[in-house]
Amino acid sequence: MTLDPANLLKLLGLDLPPDRLEEVVGVFKEIRAEIDKLHALDLADLHPAVVFRPIEAEKRDG
């Protein structure tokens, strides 16, 4: 099976017209380089700052 890049973009939710996508990606490159610095960090088994907390139910009065 060959992979159609257009379908891949749709699969990833990047449904922008090609010229607009090129513009957005062009600006994002610098930010990508900053985010990549995060990936280089060894954070061992550290949990993320935001964790799931279940919502407690409040009983009806009476």
Partner: protein, 467 residues
């Protein structure tokens, strides 16, 4: 005699309480300033038609002995991303948002304390920028006021209101405070409830005041702080009693200076002012220590990952229906760009935030507060896109939040205090931060800096104008 619009709340509240000045007279003084100077400075997007009735009500209550406290009858401006019962909310956008006309948590607390809500201030669209067009800096109308709470910074500096409400996701209270020359306070994450604020980034958004003095900012933050059951990030507690902090001085305190990140590539005059502030604290009896946090080099990637992903998630309906095309081009670009941030990027950023928090928790065992410039530069010209500082070309947007966003990642309290001006008479801001929920030590240092800078800021007088 000093003009009413030039006085800090601490002085105004005594005048109102004693009956020397009525809330209506005070409101009129600000409205007159707005009428004269807002056409150029563009700080307000809406004036509250109910403000006069609220001022009259406050006047009658105070006259009858029912004084609610230091904010009773004081006109306060509100950033356009806080929902309000008697004013529309647009978050700086032309795209209809259908937001409820009801008070958010912070606004409700201000109103309950008797504050008169004078109007809504202009903001950079959806809090996604540092310029707030078309608002202008009161110190030089050819320059930007900063953002995203730019209208609030202008309103305070120009004497359009006693103080203003802002929000801060990466520096949006402290940046306009620094560029406009007023005090901007971002308390600990969740200490002031965020329900009613149009979200920008749920885990980074903070509410807080811009004010004419450290004491005014502390007063407003204390009034707005408290549990908010509609904010999942609420700290669930009232503010500690900070009153002792304001007159305590800094003798015996340990103030940290982090040369990595916070002192890199600074404008020479900003750097000189900050070094003078450090020397001043040492002269006042503080012990100055230096420390390093090399991991701060990854902070920009972390805040971009969280902010972009969150903002894009919030705006999914507008991406879906195409109304994002009506956003300002810079904001549209960022909202569309958030789709390029992966879930892995986001979660790694959140793990990094925890790591950074652990690093600073160790530092804050020995350090009471951390001092730095608020921004590497002073207000830049409208339309300017790049600056070169210390031989390093950088976009003004990248440079503007470089020193403020780490405290959003950490959820720690931080305040910007005016401390001198550059050769163009543009204000310089110094930033003081402390451990989460240690606003007290942050305020002690901030007060010392304010005192050494000559006391509370002077509002801009506009030469050639009679008020």
């Amino acid at each position: 005699m000093a003009e009413l619009w030039s006085l800090p709340i601490t002085e105004l509240s005594e005048r109102l309480r004693s009956g020397r000045t009525s809330p209506v007279e005070l409101l009129e003084a600000y409205l007159d300033r707005i009428e004269r100077h807002n056409p150029v400075l563009a700080a307000f997007v809406h004036i509250n038609a109910n403000a006069r009735a609220a001022a009259e009500e406050a006047h009658a209550a105070i006259r009858d002995g029912d004084w609610k406290g230091a904010l009773h009858g004081i006109p306060i401006a509100v950033k356009d991303n806080h929902t309000t019962a008697d004013m529309p909310t647009h978050a700086g956008s032309e795209v209809p948002l259908d937001l409820p006309e009801e008070d958010g948590a912070a606004v409700a607390r201000l109103r309950a304390a008797g504050a008169v809500l004078i109007g809504k201030t202009r903001m950079h669209e959806f809090a996604w920028g540092m310029e707030t067009p078309p608002a202008r800096n009161p110190h030089d109308a050819d320059r930007v006021p900063g953002g995203s709470s730019g209208g609030s910074g202008v309103a305070v500096a120009a004497g359009f209101a006693a103080a203003a409400l802002g929000s801060d996701t990466g520096g949006s209270i402290r940046i306009p405070a620094s560029l406009c020359g007023c005090v901007g306070l971002k308390p600990t994450f969740g200490l002031i409830g965020r329900s009613g604020i149009v979200p920008h980034s749920w885990s980074l958004d903070h509410a807080g005041p811009l004010a004419a003095s450290v004491a005014d900012a502390a007063l407003l933050a204390a009034v707005m702080a408290g549990p908010d059951r509609d904010d999942p990030g609420s700290a669930g507690r009232e503010a500690d009693d900070w009153s002792d902090a304001l007159g305590a001085g800094v003798r015996g305190m340990t103030v940290g200076v982090c040369r990595t990140h916070f002192f890199e590539a600074l404008d020479a005059e900003v750097e000189a002012a900050t070094e003078a502030a450090i020397r001043g604290l040492a002269a006042a009896g503080a012990h100055i220590v230096e420390f390093e946090v090399p991991e701060l080099s990854a902070a920009l990637g972390a805040i971009f990952a969280v902010e972009l992903a969150s903002s894009t998630t919030y705006h999914l309906p507008r991406l879906r229906d195409g109304s994002v095309a009506r956003f300002a081009p810079d904001v549209r670009l960022l909202v569309e760009m958030g789709r390029l941030v992966s879930a892995v990027d986001y979660l790694q950023a959140e793990r990094y935030r925890r790591h950074l928090g652990q690093r600073f928790a160790v530092i804050f065992r020995d350090v009471d507060a951390v001092l730095s410039p608020t921004m590497p530069l002073t207000a830049w010209r409208v339309g300017q896109r790049e600056v070169t500082i210390a031989d390093r070309p950088e976009s003004v947007l990248a440079v503007s939040w470089r020193l403020t966003h780490p405290w959003n990642l950490l959820g720690a309290p931080a305040i910007s205090v005016p401390f001198g001006v550059d050769r163009s008479r543009l204000p310089i801001g110094v930033q003081v931060a402390a451990a989460p929920h240690n606003e007290k030590d942050m305020l002690r240092v901030a007060m010392e800096i304010e005192n050494r800078g000559g006391g509370p800021m002077a509002r801009v007088g506009f030469p050639g104008s009679r008020s």
